[in-house]
Amino acid sequence: MPIPNNTDHSPGSLRRSYKRYLKERVIELLLFLAAFLSVFITFAIIYLLISESLVFFEHVSVWDFLTDTQWTPLFDDAHYGILPLVSGTAISSLVALVIALPFGTIIAIYLSEFAPFTVREIAKPFLELLGGIPTVVYGYFALLFVTPLLQTILPDLPGFSLLSAGLVMGIMIIPYVSSMTEDAMRSVPMHLREGSYAIGATRFQTAIKVVMPASLSGIAAAYILGISRAVGETMVVAIAAGMQPNLVWNPMEPAATITTYIVQVSLGDLPHGSVGYQTIFAAGLTLLLLTLVFNILGHLLRKRYREVY
């Protein structure tokens, strides 16, 4: 069969179908917009918090906001010091972390290095279920079960306290910390463990001296993301810690956190555009900045251990 020996290799019938190409691009654009929505949400959050806060800072100086030791925006003698809210947040988070980090770590070590297969297969979903219980239910548990229980040991404990809110918050965060810590530990390759066992190390020695150091950045990430969870937690403290902004360092007292203040204002009926309305955005901005620092740090650390293995 004679083949025309010309050098014109034009695409002919193989040419790109314009209609099909266009349809594919339109679909791609729609999908991109959906993905880009997340960036838009972030910008919307930042824009909203900053713009409302700017109005707030026209009334209140940044210096007062950061140094005043009273937070009484709804009183006639209004003070706008964020410190009482920060202290409440810090204390309740601290109590939570004292519970969540050790317990979370011990459970993670057990599940990753000691537990038989069946125990792990049952315990992991169970912990996941615990983590899925609504926070308002944990709040109920803190106020109506843990506080009365603690009062039998500590008769001076008031009905609302940072202690019981923090304790329950800690219990709530355990599954979160343990599952991330365990993920980090299990990502340590088996041959590292085998190397340790081969020279006569026990399970515990292997866990402490080989697995944990090897997954350190992952464990640190779990801790930091746990802190961020505690700082941003709202309902448990709103229900069990009371809502008075007190500059306290004693967990046995009631106090407000940044989050509970926002809840408190939202429960009332503040007119849109008033200084009171803007305070919750200033408080929200503070909270966002705090959690953002922890989140970014946590994700950087997580990324690092994922890159290693």
Partner: protein
């Protein structure tokens, strides 16, 4: 070395189906194919052989523009497809059009997790065939051509995963045949199969050569000798020797080809 040829009365054809002109291919900055010139003859089986990493699979995947799926790949040169006399590597050519005419069977059987029927019908469906009667007829034809019909005709609704490895690979061949491709590309189609399944696939390829142009990559020289009419030996991204399989296996011109074929290296 002995050559096994199925006595099929198949004759050599010299009608060009495709011509490769000065083909270069790059994965990012790495040049995987160097200046390849080759012919593909119509309704013949052409085998691509060579040591692993020589670029034979890369070369094969140029024919249906599979490299377009991944970023930073690019082609230089031409693969002319006849009778259109069009360069299928041209940016103006739609890779989808190319793949509709040049289909491919992969190393590992990759049936879709759908029924046997739907696997074979998929190519027809994306071409817009909706009539049940046409679909049924074409699916049956494709399955017969892939020598699978008798084994599956009573369970076309079963999930394709329930077939054996060899059956899955024949199903993938049926899937590719259902749309009457002009060229069928085989990328080491038997490397994941046991010897019996391999024999059945080889027999199938021999039977198909009267119907479709075939390009097959294989690391198994006996297989190339058994099934192909033409053989191309590649090494380090270059085409070292190309010719009729008998010639290549009995009287290779190139010392390197001879060393590889006689097993002195590879």
């Amino acid at each position: 070395m002995q050559i096994f040829k199925p006595a099929s009365g198949h004759t050599h054809s010299t009608v060009q189906k495709s011509v490769v002109n000065k083909l270069n291919f790059y994965y990012g900055g790495y040049q995987a194919l160097k200046n390849i010139d080759m012919m593909v003859y119509e309704k013949q089986v052409t085998a691509l052989i060579g040591p692993s990493g020589c670029g034979k699979s890369t070369f094969l995947r140029c024919f249906n523009r599979m490299h377009d799926l991944y970023p930073r790949n690019h082609y230089e040169g031409e693969i002319i497809l006849h009778p259109d006399n069009a360069n299928i590597l041209s940016p103006e050519v739609d890779p989808i059009e190319v793949r509709m005419r040049i289909s491919m069977v992969f190393q590992k059987p990759n049936p879709f997790p759908k029924s046997i029927f739907e696997n074979v019908a998929y190519g027809l469906r994306i071409r817009g065939v909706k009539r049940r009667s046409i679909l049924e007829e074409r699916v049956e034809n494709a399955l017969r051509n892939a020598a699978l019909w008798e084994e599956v005709k009573d369970r076309l609704g079963d999930l394709a995963f329930n077939l054996s490895g060899g059956q899955q690979q024949r199903l993938c061949i049926a899937r590719a045949l259902a749309t009457d491709p002009e060229i069928l590309l085989f990328d080491e189609p038997t490397s994941a199969l046991d010897p019996i399944a391999t024999a059945s696939i080889e027999e199938l390829i021999s039977d198909l050569r009267n119907k479709v142009t075939i390009l097959i990559v294989t690391h198994n020289m006996q297989q190339a000798a058994r099934v192909s009419d033409y053989t191309a030996y590649m090494y380090m991204g270059e085409l070292i020797e190309f010719g009729a399989t008998d010639t290549i296996f009995i009287k290779p011109k190139n010392k390197q080809t001879e060393d590889y074929i006689t097993g002195r290296f590879g």
